[in-house]
């Protein structure tokens, strides 16, 4: 081991002699077609990465327009109906085309088989199929946008969406339906891979926590998404034939729609956060050179979140006319589901204790996650508390809550993960200083954008408003200013990561000195991942094992 202790764990090979591996999954086959027809999980992950980035910036552009419009109280930039389309498409694109597939479909796809010591996913072709479904869905969504957009809100509330709007609701619903199947297949693939493809010695409690988190998220995808699918089918049929399953004038119950919708969409928010929590565990352990504090608690809390996540959906409907008795039950369960998240946060915090902590970019994003997700999650508790929800629901408080958990939480985790595994995926390092700058910029921009929205929310500013009373302007201006900073912060990684593809330092197989199986193979990995199937003979996050291994390698080579 090197003698001097620096402030970083990054250990790159000597750049003057270092070389990229000759045969990697990237150059194994050439040509566009070899990518489009690939069954290699790593290539599919890259395809996903490119597509979701594309959709993130589309959604981001909508966000930019939303914030610009809200600069002034009057609807002067865009008319009200355009504004409605903006936030609808912002929500749909961000949720179904960015955040749900973000970590699982990119990092998960790339890493899951490697972390398990397998050569590929259980069903490589279905893996590719889910990417194609995603692309078809995305194309449909884009065409719906180009043809004039949708203005239902991402929640498709009936009977508004079924009988009162004449925008491209059916196209958008079909797009989400298809994207849903993409996500279902993704989930099935993950679960089967985790159950069936673990290498010898890879027991459940030796799996990295990233796997546990993705496993829990996959359960949610498989069990929840079909309900969304059937709901959208019913909405589409109701629109097409004018039937009344959800329309009260025809005898339907609009609340039934909401029950079915939120039965999926609440678990969906955990689909959106759990994989990010997986990233957290990996990065925090690596950057503090220490096994995760209470591995089992963290692993089981993922599963607990997934399980309890199915019992709380009605908290989105507290004032919508559900029975108050049932609201009581769901409010209680909401409080229970918040606990496992707290466990995780504290376990991560205590992982730092007695560690040997370094502050690389992924770690900075993780710190961002810890702070912002805690705020976001605790404001979720406001909303779960019945009486409080009456005042806060449908205001900017909600908007702030979910951006704190989704953007402050998941997006931060996603960026942490992208930076962390970038050397593994591409073989090259990103520029550290610039990336630290981006991490700090996004943190500041984020708080400036969304903290004022909590205050706005308590003052009563309703969400989905194109125009608002003038007394809310100051805070809105702050928020828009923050969004500009934030947008800049998100542009940066996009630019320097692209740059690093060619000019980044060669990373070597284990720049972070991390313990995961993925770090024991070359970067970028070869197509078949492992020359021979590994045997897992140590716990996850076993830094002593790693030190031993490194020592042995040195002696044999030297």
């Amino acid at each position: 081991m090197s003698a001097s202790i620096g402030s970083t764990i990054v250990s790159l090979p000597d750049q003057s002699t270092a070389q990229m591996p000759k045969r990697t999954y990237i150059n194994n086959e050439q040509g566009l077609l070899s990518w489009l027809l690939t069954a290699d999980h790593k290539r599919i992950a890259i395809l996903y990465l490119i597509s979701i980035t594309f959709f993130f910036f589309i959604g981001g552009a909508f966000a930019g327009l939303i914030r610009l419009e809200l600069l002034t109280p009057q609807p002067d930039l865009v008319a009200a109906d355009t504004y409605n389309k903006l936030f609808t498409m912002h929500g749909i694109v961000m949720i179904f085309f960015f955040l749900v597939p973000s970590v699982p479909a990119t990092l998960g796809n790339f890493l899951l088989p490697i972390m398990l010591g397998a050569k590929d996913m259980a069903f490589p072709k279905i893996n590719l199929l889910s990417w194609y479904l995603y692309i078809i869905a995305g194309a449909m969504m884009l065409s719906a946008i180009v043809l004039g957009g949708v203005d239902t809100g991402w929640t498709f509330t009936a009977p508004l969406s079924t009988h009162y709007l004449n925008t491209h609701v059916i196209t958008a619903a079909t797009a989400i339906f298809i994207a849903g199947f993409s996500s279902i297949f993704n989930g099935i693939n993950f679960i089967v891979t985790i159950h069936r493809m673990r290498c010898p010695g890879m027991t459940w409690f030796r799996m990295p926590l990233f796997i546990w988190a993705n496993y829990a998220a996959s359960l949610l995808m498989v069990l929840g998404t079909p309900v969304l699918a059937v709901t959208l089918v019913l909405v589409a049929l109701e629109r097409l034939f004018g039937i009344g399953v959800f329309d009260p004038t025809k005898g339907g119950d609009p609340l039934l729609f909401q029950h079915l919708f939120w039965f999926y969409s609440h678990p969906a928010v955990y689909i959106m956060i759990l994989p990010g929590m997986g990233v957290m565990s990996e990065v925090i352990s690596t950057c503090s050179r220490k096994r995760i504090f209470g591995y089992t608690a963290v692993a089981f809390s993922s599963v607990a979140i997934a399980l309890f996540g199915f019992f709380v959906w009605e908290h989105h409907m507290f004032i919508m006319g559900v029975s108050s008795y049932s609201a009581l039950v769901f409010s209680l369960l909401t409080m229970l589901v918040a606990v496992p998240s707290a466990i995780k946060i504290f376990n991560w915090a205590f992982t730092l204790q007695k560690g040997s902590v370094t502050f690389e970019t992924p770690m900075l994003y993780c710190f961002g996650f810890m702070g912002l997700f805690t705020i976001g999650g605790l404001t979720g508790v406001f909303l779960g508390s019945l009486g409080m929800d009456v005042h806060l629901t449908e205001t900017y408080f909600i908007v702030a809550h979910f951006h704190f958990v989704m953007v402050g939480g998941m997006l931060m985790a996603f960026l942490a993960g992208i930076h962390f595994w970038w050397p593994k995926m591409t073989g090259r390092m990103y520029p550290e200083t610039l990336s630290k700058l981006a991490a700090v910029t996004t943190f500041i921009g984020f708080n400036l954008t969304f903290l004022p929205q909590f205050i706005l929310g308590y003052m009563g500013m309703p969400r989905r408003y194109a125009a608002y009373p003038p007394e809310f302007q100051v805070l809105n201006v702050l928020s828009t200013a923050g969004a500009t900073v934030l947008g800049f912060g998100y542009m940066l990684p996009m630019l320097y990561l692209t740059w690093s593809l060619k000019y980044g330092a060669i990373a070597g197989s284990n720049p972070w000195q991390a313990t995961g199986l993925e770090w024991q193979i070359p970067s970028p990995p070869p197509t078949e991942n492992f020359a021979e199937i590994p045997i897992m003979d140590h716990e996850a996050y076993d830094y002593e094992w790693l030190a031993n291994k490194t020592r042995n390698e040195v002696t044999t080579v030297g």
Binding site: D81, L328, I375, S385
Partner: protein, 349 residues
């Protein structure tokens, strides 16, 4: 709550004047704010705790100071601590929130009732005295007011942030919420449930008046006929009185005094007659047929607007005897032109 009133007033007013806080203008508001401050404190506490842990550990155990990490399995005791403490705090939030919820939705018995009809994209308020308002609501201070809400098309949500109340206006069903304004003044009404293009235009004002001012307002803006009187006319013109006239030969049940009573249905169920039931009985009569009667009452779905229904409901609610019904029957038979209902609801949007 806990806090001294002076300090409370100071805090709240200061925040309000800094445009960081809504006015506290109803009896509910202080209760909501108390819970809010509790939750804010919880958030500050939790976030600070996490931040302190992260910062202290990062500084204390950074690589330069602590080159070699000590591997720790975990600690059941610590984990139990941070399971139980947040759980306890969350449970307090739960109980407190539930109590507040029931406070918000349980009206006092002496509340006066005002009907609110939401439609794309306006609020119509109908006072029992027949005063109609659009995107405005006049109420007296110091008097509990119950709102009975319904929507004519999609979901809307009636929100008055300064009162800390909000309630969904649902198509096809009455919902209620109540408040008691404490300070005269004007307060914003928002529609907070996304309801289509002009959702952000569905706003208005609640004007809280002193009881004296309110009385003058009532007198000045009356349309001449109360809701019940409108309902009486409708009752005659829609032909309700041909069956519901309280005579021995009547084909329908006697409606006098039916409001608030318990009905037994043909399938044995017992139901309390409230606003929602009356409305439903007119629109979907065959879904709950009163014991002893044949399901012959026609449905009035599509023939009555929500306003018309409110008139009828208000009329039936206040119907103490069948005297006037029988009177109208006589006048109707005498060939006098029956008043017509304005065709609303369907065509209008």
């Amino acid at each position: 709550m806990g806090l001294s009133p002076v300090l409370w007033q100071f805090l709240v007013n200061w925040l309000h004047n800094a445009s960081l806080f809504p006015a506290e203008a109803s009896t509910i508001a202080p209760y909501t704010d108390a819970l809010y401050f509790f939750l804010v404190l919880m958030t500050i506490f939790g976030t600070t705790l996490v931040a302190v842990l992260v910062v202290v550990f990062s500084v204390r155990y950074r690589r330069q100071r602590n080159p070699v990490a000590t591997q720790i399995e975990g600690s059941t005791l610590l984990e139990a601590t941070w399971t139980i403490i947040p759980l306890a705090i969350f449970l307090v939030a739960y109980v407190w929130g539930a109590l507040l919820y029931f406070r918000i939705f349980n009206p006092p018995t002496n509340a006066m009732n005002i009907y609110i009809v939401g439609k794309q994209w306006m609020w119509k308020a109908e006072h029992p005295g027949g005063q109609h308002e659009i995107n405005a609501l006049h109420v007296p201070v110091g008097q509990p007011v119950q709102l009975t809400l319904i929507s004519q098309d999609v979901f809307h949500s009636f929100s008055v942030p300064d009162f800390r109340i909000k309630r969904e206006a649902i198509p096809g069903r009455y919902t209620t919420v109540w408040f008691e304004a404490t300070k005269p003044g004007s307060y914003r009404i928002f529609c907070t449930q996304y309801c289509g293009t002009q959702h952000s235009g569905m706003v208005g004002w609640v004007t809280a008046l002193t009881p004296a001012d309110y009385k003058t307002w009532l007198e000045q803006s009356t349309s001449g006929e109360s809701l019940a009187q409108n309902g009486e006319r409708l009752f005659a013109s829609m032909g309700c009185n041909s069956c519901h006239n309280g005579t021995a030969a009547a084909r329908g049940p006697d409606l006098a005094g039916v409001y608030g009573s318990k009905l037994t249905l043909t399938d044995g169920r017992q139901l309390l007659v409230d606003d929602a039931y009356l409305r439903d009985a007119i629109l979907n009569p065959s879904q709950h047929v009163t014991a002893g009667y044949a399901p012959i009452m026609p449905t009035y779905q599509g023939q009555l607007s929500e306003d018309g229904l409110i008139d009828l409901v208000e009329f039936i609610k206040n119907m103490q005897s069948n005297y006037r019904v029988q009177q109208t029957l006589v006048t109707a038979e005498s060939g006098e032109a029956a008043p017509t209902t304005p065709p609303q609801g369907k065509g209008e949007r």
